[in-house]
Each structure stands twice: as C-alpha cells, then as structure tokens.
C-alpha cells in the first residue's frame, strides 16, 4: 500500500514522501504503520505524536485522506487505494505531522473554565456530565470548522464540550458566568454549518450536549 506523508518543517511548504508499506499484522492502524515505518527508516524518522494508541489521548490527530482524525483510529484494511497523511492545518506546524495545539488550553484559560464553588451533582446529570468529560482536546472538530481560527474569540466545539460540563454542574451566579462565556466564545460565533458533526473521533454527540446548556 502507498502511504504518502507531507514532510514539513516550520516555514516550509513541505514535500510529499511516498512509502511503499506492507502491513505486518491484521488490524493494523495508521499509527502502527507510522511506528513500523520509523523503525525501518531510523535515519528519516517521521515526526508525529502518540501515546495511548487506542483513541484515548488525542495525541495522534492528523489529516488522513483529507479528513481530520486519529491515526490510531484508522485501520489500513478499511482504506481503499493509498493513504495521504498531513498535519492538522489550523495549528502551527512543528514538524511533519506534529502541530502545536497550545491554543486549545489557552482558550479554556481565557474563558475562565473552572468552578469556584462545589459542583452540584446528582444521578440525573451523571450521563450528561460523563459525556461532556470525554473531550480529548484533539482538535479535529476545529480543523473542519469554517469559523475557527486560532487567536480568534470563537473557540469552537473543543471548548464547548468542557464548557457544558461546567455549566451543568454549577449553579447561581457561577452558572450565569459560565453561560455567558459559552455564549461569547461558542454560541455567538457558530455558523451552524454543522461541519463538525460526525467528525469527533471520540464519538461525542455534540448536538445532544448542546441541548443541555
């Protein structure tokens, strides 16, 4: 199988490098292929980021055949034709497939996303709070969002999900404050283009969450 990787350094346009890759075991993912390629070409290691290798840490997000997703979530067996791997384009490039996603954290910091008071918890909310706790901060949803630009005041779905957890376990003035931040940084800027639907590799049902804000 042909795997093309956009090799890139800061300030460069990048060049496509093509690897001829033979899967070594059944069930291989893009992540395991990248590891194997790096093992056989130690001199030319492709720079990319990973951790859990099972869709739990969001480190390996990249654009695979034009779709932002996790490298450990894409099975080679499901790919017809070749693979084209490139870094997420909305974030500053570090090298090859690795980008700097610090803006995700900065946005949540700017929106003051935390609780000053004790969380209000009960059984009814549990399921929703659980769902809203699952965001990987991978950035895939931002990659496809026509409204999101790093540094802008619109923060997108990656901020909306954690915000919804906090809104739903706060009360009184705190809830009001968190709702306001949500309105300012998510609701008012969202063009409802719905491009981010069905992108989330964690399968977070954003629409269901949004109903509860």
């Amino acid at each position: 199988m042909k795997i093309s990787v956009l090799r890139k350094k800061i300030g460069e346009k990048g060049r496509w490098q093509i690897f001829e890759y033979e899967p070594k075991e059944p069930g291989e993912t893009v992540a395991s292929a990248l590891n194997n390629i790096n093992r056989t070409n130690p001199g030319e290691r492709i720079i990319w980021d990973c951790g859990c290798l099972q869709k739990k840490c969001g480190a390996c997000a990249m654009v695979i055949n034009d779709r932002p997703t996790l490298a450990c979530a894409v099975k080679l067996a499901d790919i017809k034709g070749g693979l084209r791997l490139e870094a997420l384009r909305k974030f500053p490039i570090i090298e090859d497939l690795m980008v700097d996603r610090t803006v995700l954290r900065e946005n949540l910091l700017n929106a003051r996303e935390w609780l000053e008071e004790e969380a209000v918890m009960n059984e009814k909310k549990q399921e929703l709070l659980y769902e809203a706790s699952r965001c990987l901060q991978c950035g895939c949803c931002l990659e496809v969002c026509p409204q999101f630009m790093p540094g802008d005041k619109f923060f997108g779905t990656a901020a909306a999900v954690p915000m919804i957890r906090l809104i739903n376990c706060s009360k009184g003035d705190e809830k009001k404050r968190l709702r306001k931040e949500y309105y300012r940084h998510v609701y008012s800027g969202c063009g409802k283009s719905l491009s981010c639907r069905n992108i989330c590799p964690a399968g977070i049902d954003v629409d269901r969450l949004l109903v509860s804000r």
Binding site: G27, T29, Q54, C57, D100, M121, S133, C169
Partner: protein, 523 residues
C-alpha cells in the same frame, strides 16, 4: 519559597500542583504532553475508597487490610494505612470538583473490584481515569490563571541536577524548539511507569518512556522493588501494543475459562471458590499460565461475558464493548474474548519514604514512578488513588521540609539528550520480556543479564541509563529468591518471610548496581 518543579502532568503531578497552589506556592508543571494525553486518562475501572455507600459496612480498615494482603505484605503498612484512611476524603473531593462517578440519587455507587470483598470502587463506566482527569485539569486551571501553576507542556525533563547530594533543579528540553534549560528549585517527579522498557508490551502509554526515572537512578537516586511488575490477566494483543480488558468486566460477572477435553472449564471458580474471578491479579495471571501449561487443556484462555445482562452492557460497560468490537472485531456480548496476561503496572520504582521523599534531599516522587503503597501486587482501583494522594503528600512534605538552597551560582552545561535508537529499544524490550515474564528463573535472569551486558558497548547516554535500570530490575528479581505477589520464581516456589519480607533496594554506585534488602519502611 522557590518555584517547585513537577515532572509529569498526570494524576500525581496535577494533584501536587493543586496542593502547592492551594498553599500559595508556585509550581512549574513540566510534561512531555499536555495532561489530556497522560496515561491517567486511560484508567478504566475505577478508584477505591471505603465510602461505604453500598450498605455493606465497609471500613477504611478493611480497605487497608485488603491492600496489605493483596500486596503480599510487602507494602509499608504505615503508608498504606494513611492512604486508605484518606481515600474517602480524596474521592469526595474529586466528586465535588464535578467528577461524574456513577450515582444513585445524590450518592456515589460503587462496584466490586479484584482482591476486595466489598463494593469499594467508584467508577464512571470504564472511563474513570478520563473523567477524573477532566475535573482535575479544570480545577488546576483556576490556579494557572492566578499564576500559581505554570505549564510547560511539550517539555521533557532530562535529568535531575544534583549538587552536594542534594537536588537543586532539573534540566528540561523544549521538544518543539529543541532547546534545553536549567529549572532551579526542588523537584517532584510524577513521570509515570516504565513502559519504555517494554516497548509494545504494555497496556499503558508509549509516552511514558521511564527515561527520567532511569536518569535519576543512574545519578544515584535509589530504586525499590523493581522486580514487582503487574501482569494484568485480561489483555489482548493489538498492533503495536497490549490493550486492557478492564477488571470491570469480571466485576460485573465475566468469567475466565479454558477448553478442557472440549468443554469450557471455569478454572477460577473451581480453584478459588472464595474470590473466584475477582482474586488478585497476580493470582489469576499465575493460574492462567498454569492451566495453559496443563496437559489436558487448550492453549487459549477466554473471558466469557456472554451472560451479562443487557442493562449492564448499556449502563456500565458500553465503552468497553465498543472498544473490543473496534479493535478485535468481536462483540463480547456474543462471543468469548481470547485473553492473555500482559504488563500493566509497575509496583516498583523510585524508593520513597511514607512522605514521598526519595533518597536524595530536595527530590520527591509520586504516582506510578514511585514505589509506594502497592507492595508485591497492586489492587485494581488503588493506583489512581495512590497517584492523587501521593502527589498531595509529596507536596505537603516538600512544604514542611522547607528545602532551602545555597545560591546556585553557575550550572554545568546542559547535557546532551540523544534519542533511543529503535533497534536498541526493541532488543532491550525483548530481553526484559523474556527475563521478567510472569514466571522467572535464576537461569533465565542470568541469561538476560548477560544479554544486557552485550548491549552496553555502543550505547548513547540515554540508552546506557535504560540499561542500568533494566539491569537493576533483573538483579532485583534474581536476588529475591522466593515467590511473592508478582515475583514468581520457578526455582524458589515458596514465600520466604524471614529473608524477603523486605524492600528490595537497588543502588547505583560507581557504575555498578548493588541490591540490598531493607526493612520495610526504611529508606
């Protein structure tokens, strides 16, 4: 007080940063990856505390007893006692931060977990680590805004800086920009387990290389119980790694079987009628090797979850079911899952006292990189607890110790940090995997030590340090001539309390590792 350096932003590192911030002390939270990527987010089944929410009359004393027994009495009882006593407070605090544990009404509900007879494990389906991390990250953010916590994500801690037998700081490299700097101040390391020594063979994160721990060890920081490596009974091989099938599966009714003369034999039920499939992990993993080796059985153990009621799947294990379907192509509700034991947790690590001080002044360790609380075998649900509690205790004792520094005038040149070569990592992992299997023998360990020796010649500094730590691991297993918890010796099948109810301490001095057995609790 000086700004404190915390290495690692998983549960232990976050908990330490949180504790400092509440005490108005500044910390630098240095981590290779942001908190959302730390191995702690992978934790599945739950966190233990005798909250006694299930009307079973649970108590912190029983939690303590189970922890000690589960750890084959190798844990420091004084440390295990305070851990279990504080557990309800820790879990309640996490709950108040908005961690969505499973609830009934306003109260947390708890599930059974291995090695414990009472329902003591708070959980959120099988994504408990993720939801706790989310709440703790948000909590710590408040202090980031106040300037008490400075995050250095994408920074690798290279080695502690020691002067006059004291830790005065740490060398840190920005992995994006490539530059390294000296960060002055006391250090708490919370850099996680030693997965890098067993590449592709563990359930945990590949980002936890163990290299900072190896650097500490090579520079004279003592390590302990390195031979105690937990093989989790139910893991599956997926490309590039082991994947865990959480203990929650057995807690909700899953049972292990092997084919014997064509019929399924539920060996745990039969051999351990008391705890059955919820016996401690060391016991199950060892039994699995034995039943596979038996003459009249097949060679594959299966986890049978087909009898679980639909409600249990939907409410408690839906995430696990999806994961098994996705990576194995098996629906566990319909078909038994073939499982084998795999490396899951490191009970051993940097030697610390009950206050999390290491053998070097000014350096503390907490979380999975430290050897504390779990003895020879960790109970499921105790390690998240230990990471959160340990981070807090380390921070508290650092504050109490009020480590002061003479003016550090100049600092030596920042050291080199060459990468590990792929081939090297593979080779070392293979050697260790063979030597440090579930069942070990003197002969096998000697052989592994010899192979390690052969690797030494052409290594760079990072590789050398890994080798030293690997060697210490093998030597610890070799010198402990007994079978206890995760240390199973075919040539010494019995427990030997007189000689070995002690901590294995590994000391690296003048280029050589020495192993010593010390009274438990001493450092």
């Amino acid at each position: 007080m000086e700004t404190v350096n915390i290495i690692g932003a998983g549960l232990a590192g976050l908990s330490a940063a949180h504790t400092f911030a509440k005490n108005k002390i500044r910390s630098r939270l240095i981590s290779l990856q942001p908190s959302e990527r730390a191995q702690s987010v992978m934790a599945e089944g739950g966190i233990n505390a005798a909250l006694n929410t299930m009307g079973e009359g649970d108590s912190t004393f029983e939690h303590f007893e189970d922890t000690m027994r589960g750890g084959a009495f190798l844990a420091d009882p004084k440390a295990a006692e305070v851990l279990t006593e504080h557990a309800p407070e820790i879990v309640t605090e996490l709950f108040k931060m908005g961690t969505p544990f499973a609830m009934k009404g306003d109260s947390i509900i708890q599930r059974n977990f291995g090695g414990q007879k009472k329902k003591r494990t708070a959980f959120a389906k099988s994504s408990t680590g993720k939801v706790i991390m989310t709440a703790l990250i948000d909590e710590v953010r408040k202090y980031e805004a106040e300037g008490y916590v400075e995050r250095l994500d994408h920074h690798e801690a290279l080695e502690p800086v020691l002067a006059d037998d004291m830790c005065i700081g740490v060398y840190v490299r920005d992995t994006f920009a490539g530059e390294a700097v000296f960060c002055r101040g006391p250090v708490i390391t919370a850099c996680g387990g030693l997965n890098g020594l067993f590449e592709g063979m563990t359930t945990g994160s590949s980002a936890n290389s163990g290299d900072f721990t190896a650097a500490c060890f090579a520079l004279g920081v003592n390590a302990a119980n390195l031979e105690m490596i937990q093989y989790h009974p139910t893991t599956v091989v997926v490309p590039g790694k082991r994947m865990l099938v959480s203990e929650a599966a057995r807690c909700e009714g899953g049972r292990l079987f092997i084919k014997r003369k064509g019929d399924p034999w539920f060996f745990m039920d039969e051999l351990y009628p008391d705890m059955g499939n919820l016996a401690p992990r060391d016991v199950i993993s060892k039994t699995m090797t034995e039943v596979v080796a038996a003459d009249d059985t097949g060679d594959q153990v299966y986890l049978d979850l087909t009898e679980l009621p639909r409600g249990t799947w939907n409410k408690k294990l839906s995430d696990m079911r999806d994961e098994i379907k996705e990576y194995l192509g098996i629906d566990p509700a319909k078909e038994p899952v073939p499982v084998t034991p795999g490396i899951h947790f490191f009970m051993g690590g940097i030697l610390v006292d009950k206050d999390h001080r290491t053998s070097v002044k000014g350096l503390y360790a907490a979380g999975e990189c430290a050897c504390q609380y779990h003895g020879a075998n960790r109970l499921g649900g105790n390690s998240m607890l230990a990471a959160v509690y340990g981070g807090k205790v380390a921070a508290d004792s650092l504050i109490r110790d009020a480590v002061y520094y003479k003016e550090v005038s100049e600092c030596q040149a920042v050291p080199e940090a060459p990468e590990i070569r792929c081939g090297f990592s593979r080779e070392l992992s293979e050697i260790l995997g063979q030597g440090m299997g579930i069942v070990r023998s003197g002969e096998g360990l000697e052989r592994a030590l010899k192979h390690i020796d052969e690797l030494k010649d052409e290594c760079n500094i990072r590789e050398k340090r890994r080798l030293y730590l690997a060697e210490a691991m093998l030597l610890s297993a070799l010198k402990r001539e007994e079978t206890r918890g995760a240390q199973v010796r075919s040539d010494f099948p019995a427990k030997d309390d007189a000689r070995f109810k002690k901590t294995t301490v590994a000391v690296f001095r003048n280029g050589k590792t020495e192993i010593d057995f010390k009274e438990i609790g001493q450092i």
